[in-house]
Point group: C2
Chain length 186, copies 2
Amino acid sequence: MTMAPETGISGVDLAVRLLTAPTALARLTQAEARLVVGLMSPVYYASGACLIREGDASDTGFMALVVQGEVVVENIIVSRTTPITTAVLGPGCLVGEMGLIDEGPRSASCTAGTDVYCAVLTRDAFYSLIVKEPALAAKLLLGVSAIIAARARESLQKLKLYASLCQTMQWEVDEMQRQIARLTAS
Amino acid sequence: MTMAPETGISGVDLAVRLLTAPTALARLTQAEARLVVGLMSPVYYASGACLIREGDASDTGFMALVVQGEVVVENIIVSRTTPITTAVLGPGCLVGEMGLIDEGPRSASCTAGTDVYCAVLTRDAFYSLIVKEPALAAKLLLGVSAIIAARARESLQKLKLYASLCQTMQWEVDEMQRQIARLTAS
């Protein structure tokens, strides 16, 4: 993996560093991180390129560790055409882990917000890790599950906000209806 | 584990059957399921008893496989006091897996809708499985991650529904405001 020249550090070393950081998705040792990174492929996305498209049910066989740059995560929440930015993910963050795990359609779109270097782990590589290094795979899976749980918690919190907004608006609508009835009667 | 007498089958056998069913959370063999069930404790909840309380951040160290009966899952969505039933889970379903994985506060309340028999796996037992039987633990974790992903997808879908409802209501509010302005002016 060749990273942007200015870093003076190889992509593999960067990815290993990200996987062994105290805040990393799983608590991997150097040796474990090297093993995982060894199964990953370097992929470069030019700024504006699409990594993952929301709703895509065919290309779900990979997840990607952001090694350099920023990935914009977008969801088509209300409008069917205009997506809302739900997150901007930087180095050390993972994208595409849900589709990799459950083979379901992609739940969000991910676009390169800058030039982005990723380390991509395919489902096949992940499954081969489970067979060959089950203890390491279990450790990684614990981290990935926790990330998916964080996504679930985040959606639930947003859902609660929207539900409470809906209720407030319903009160407003009720009040306005009474006002219109009064105005029409007078 | 002693199940309701009418089943004529032991709780262990029932739990193993549930974990090896074609629709089970993980694709475990009989031997693997027996090993997992061996780490679980039988817990009986009388109808109406609380298994898990939403927001609880202290008692997060377990997940439970429903072996017999029905568990009602509720969320405090809008009102701070009245929860909404979001699911009713029967035999073979898992509750509490998110808190077990990420040690975060409980994301929903689970109440016994009938008399309920569960097989409970504590975090300690789960971690010991990772150490002693990593391949089996990884298999189980794949299943648990997929369940968490399903929860995340479900919340996202509901979030989209609420967001779109909010937008429709906003249009209604705007229209009514115009109507009130016309009525007030005339």
